[in-house]
């Protein structure tokens, strides 16, 4: 049975991860009050990704698990990215084709999305 291979986590590790998650929650809330433009979402997602990885790695015991489990985790993420990125690519590149050339090259036109 599975008991033979189980590595029992230390309480101190678990509490440390919990503390890190709480701190990161505070950080992500605080950062959202800063004006970072496009970077707000990037930072928020990076923090969320870190938190999720912590939960998966320690709480869900991926760190002690088999390659197969890790493969499944990666597959889940990979397919989620396929879904979101390929869908998003359509919306993001639509303008590339159809945008008419502006008559005057004023400064604002340069960063048109």
């Amino acid at each position: 049975m599975s008991t033979h291979h189980i590595l029992i986590p230390k309480v101190s590790t678990l509490v440390a991860v919990w503390a890190a998650l709480i701190v990161l929650t505070g950080v992500t809330s605080a950062v959202s009050y800063l004006e970072l433009g496009e970077w707000n979402i990037v930072v928020a997602l990076l923090i969320a990704l870190t938190k999720a990885s912590l939960v998966a790695w320690v709480f869900m015991a991926v760190r002690h698990s088999t390659t197969l489990t890790r493969l499944f985790c990666v597959a889940g993420l990979a397919w989620l990215s396929i879904l979101i990125l390929l869908t998003y690519s359509d919306y993001h590149t639509r303008d590339w084709t159809y945008q008419a050339k502006p008559w005057s090259t004023n400064k604002a036109a340069g960063d048109s999305r």
Partner: protein, 198 residues
């Protein structure tokens, strides 16, 4: 790792893509209507949302401690941490219910009673609120299912079913619970922290 754990992981991948459909919709519409999406942040209570995030993280901690207790055959701890996890889970749902109630009061129920204070964003903000209710609603549904599973866990641990030789169900329910936590970890910044607040 036994079959049931692999089954749980496979199920969680399915869940990732189930929520993934909504995340994809979110990505598309946020890209399409950035201003309207940002304008909704004044209706999102960061304090309540943040508190709920913390509550869920605490519940994850107690959950993983419950799994640990089962692995060590510590029945009392198992029961204690299971109850604590259920308390945190219930607290989350109660806070969520308060949030839903305030949305109701503020006429922010898409499709039924949606009156946005900025008419220019009436339609586009409705899409965000629809996604908000869909995502948090689905999440809450998963929480409720999780609470049901925890109740089963509690009954079984009172009956001394689990010990160091048999705790797979505790681990499986733990995985599920953590996954629900992970979903919320993404929902919190995406739904509550969109706009620049000052």
């Amino acid at each position: 790792m036994d079959a049931s754990m692999l089954g749980m992981w496979t199920f969680l991948i399915t869940e990732v893509l189930f929520f993934g459909g909504m995340f994809a919709a979110y990505a598309v519409y946020r890209n399409m209507y950035p201003a309207a999406f940002a304008s909704t942040s004044k209706f999102m209570d960061v304090i309540l949302g943040g508190t709920n995030t913390a509550v869920l993280i605490c519940s994850s901690l107690t959950m993983v401690l419950a799994v640990r207790a089962a692995q060590l055959s510590k029945r009392r701890d198992l029961i204690l941490f299971t109850i604590l996890t259920m308390i945190f889970g219930t607290a989350f749902l109660v806070i969520k219910a308060f949030e839903y109630h305030s949305k109701w009061v503020e006429h922010l129920i898409p499709g039924f009673d949606f009156q946005y204070d900025e008419p220019r964003y009436q339609h586009n903000a409705q899409i965000l609120f629809f996604l908000y209710f869909c995502m948090t609603g689905m999440h809450a549904l998963h929480m409720i299912v999780g609470l049901g599973l925890l109740t089963y866990l509690l009954v079984q641990s009172v009956r001394r079913v689990f010990n160091a030789d048999y705790f797979a169900p505790v681990e499986m329910i733990g995985l599920y619970w953590h996954f629900v936590d992970v979903v919320w970890i993404f929902l919190f910044p995406l739904l509550y922290l969109i706009g620049h607040r000052r």
